[in-house]
């Protein structure tokens, strides 16, 4: 019995992204395609998302011209592929405040947003540091925080301090402080609704970019496989490894159940299709009674 369907929806991509950003230490190993995605979790009573992408109206040109982001499509177009509308979404979990995850709240007018309090408070602190420490505040758009002010006023923003169980039935939030960002979090769906679930899925945000972060060749340290953190961390790679261990323990070390949203090869593991817009829809699991959106 499964309570929720989960889809990973690509909304744009970077065709050539330096691999060392994805995988710590992978210098001079070329480039990989980096899809930008958000996740839809659809249950009987709720439609939730993990992250909301960014709004091309304000940043598309910058991204397109300077950073090689291609083929952006709005949530209305992307979500239509699985038969839902942005206004149907009632809950959004923001894994972290980078613009490509938190940059489009206005397209989800009926949603309540959850984010770690630390993600905001530490960013405010980072903004107060001298210019020579500017590196610590990369990729966050003040405009997203400005829009957060309106969400807070309207009681549509919830700041979470650490873990939060059953934020929706069977859905938990978990914090990974000082890792990819100051207050990153991941979302765990216990799809059988049990405390000791045997059907858990972890939606990892940017704590895991691709499969190699979960299972990389460990020959260099004389083990068969090992975790290798993502290349980019405002906090530390050690904290990323610790978060990875906790995520893996939640899924009984079945690595296919930890979903990396920047992974181009999700289709090797899960059924998927390419939309008419040239973007991938990946079906992670289906709730009882739900029909496939990829077959």
């Amino acid at each position: 019995m499964a309570d929720y369907s989960i889809w990973v929806l690509e909304y744009c991509y970077v065709p050539k992204y330096h691999k060392s950003g994805v995988l710590y230490g992978a210098h001079n190993e070329g480039y990989v395609k980096l899809p930008y995605c958000y996740v839809v979790i659809k249950g009987r009573d709720h439609i939730a998302m993990v992250d909301v992408g960014y709004n091309d109206k304000e940043y598309g040109k910058t991204l397109g011209d300077r950073f090689g982001v291609e083929n952006w499509r709005d949530p209305k177009t992307v979500l239509a592929e699985i038969g839902i509308r942005p206004e149907d979404v009632d809950t959004c979990f923001i894994s972290h405040a980078h613009f490509d995850h938190f940059g489009n709240v206005e397209d989800f007018p009926n949603a309540k947003f959850y984010i770690q309090e630390r993600e905001i408070s530490k960013w405010v602190w980072a903004m107060s540091l001298p210019d020579r420490m500017r590196w610590m505040m990369v990729a966050v758009d003040p405009g997203d925080i400005v829009r957060g002010v309106d969400l807070a006023r309207d009681r549509r923003l919830v700041t979470v301090d650490g873990a939060m169980e059953d934020v929706l039935p069977g859905i938990d939030l978990h914090a990974a402080p000082d890792s990819h960002t100051w207050g990153s979090m991941w979302v765990t769906v216990r799809n059988d609704g049990k405390k000791e679930s045997e059907d858990s899925w972890v939606l990892a945000g940017d704590l895991v970019y691709q499969f190699e972060n979960l299972s990389n060749n460990g020959a260099v340290v004389d083990v068969e496989e090992m975790y290798t953190p993502v290349g980019l961390a405002v906090g530390s790679q050690a904290n990323l490894i610790l978060a990875t261990e906790e995520m893996m323990s939640q899924v009984g070390y079945e690595s296919r159940r930890v979903i990396p949203i920047h992974e181009e090869r999700l289709n090797d593991t899960f059924p998927s299709r390419i939309s008419a817009e040239g973007l991938r829809i990946t079906e992670i699991c289906l709730a009882d009674g739900e029909s496939s959106k990829v077959s």
Partner: protein
């Protein structure tokens, strides 16, 4: 006895609708950026102007970001100590720095409109900081945060109007960001 809080709110709203400092006025549109103006007016002077704009822009970007975060945290925690936080004091010193830089910024022909956006952003930042300092008791917290939110949004919009990728006046610092494909 005059209710100073209400007086402040009223005074903050008394601009004419077409005044750049009106909270309810038309939102500014993007003005010609320094890199566009350089084509018309010659590059050296405008390039110097753009370079001198950068630290001002960065100061304002940070003040807006910090105040937004503080407003969110104050709203959600319902704590009024916001005005005593070192981050707000940091905003105030950064604002002074930006104000001094902006007052000595020489605007060559064609860039006056661009500079006006920076000035408007600076002014709305001042108003928002003033609003934070007006928070006295729990009763005024939400009312003051409503006003500060409007002022911050206005400051952001003016700064956004003065943004220019080529002139390196950008809201998002993409260096080392996870999105950077190049």
């Amino acid at each position: 006895m005059v209710d100073e809080t209400r007086l402040f709110v009223r005074l903050a709203h008394t601009h004419k609708p077409d005044c750049v400092m009106s909270l309810d006025g038309t939102m500014p549109k993007a003005v010609p950026s320094p890199d566009e103006l350089a084509v018309v007016f010659g590059s050296d002077e405008v390039a110097r102007y753009a370079a001198n704009c950068r630290p001002i822009y960065e100061d304002l970007r940070r003040i807006i970001g910090q105040m937004s975060g503080l407003a969110i945290l104050a709203r959600l925690t319902e704590r009024r100590e916001i005005r005593d936080l070192p981050e707000l004091q940091n905003c105030e010193s950064r604002w002074k720095q930006a104000s001094e830089r902006l007052s000595s910024l020489s605007a060559p022909a064609g860039t006056v409109e661009h500079k006006a956006q920076l000035e408007a952003a600076l002014d709305f930042c001042r108003l928002a900081m003033g609003t934070f300092s007006e928070i006295r008791g729990q009763a005024t917290l939400n009312e003051m945060l409503d006003l500060a939110g409007l002022q911050i949004k206005r400051a952001y919009t003016h700064l956004q109007a003065a943004s220019s990728a080529k002139a390196k006046l950008e809201m998002v610092d993409f260096s080392h960001a996870c999105c950077c494909g190049r």
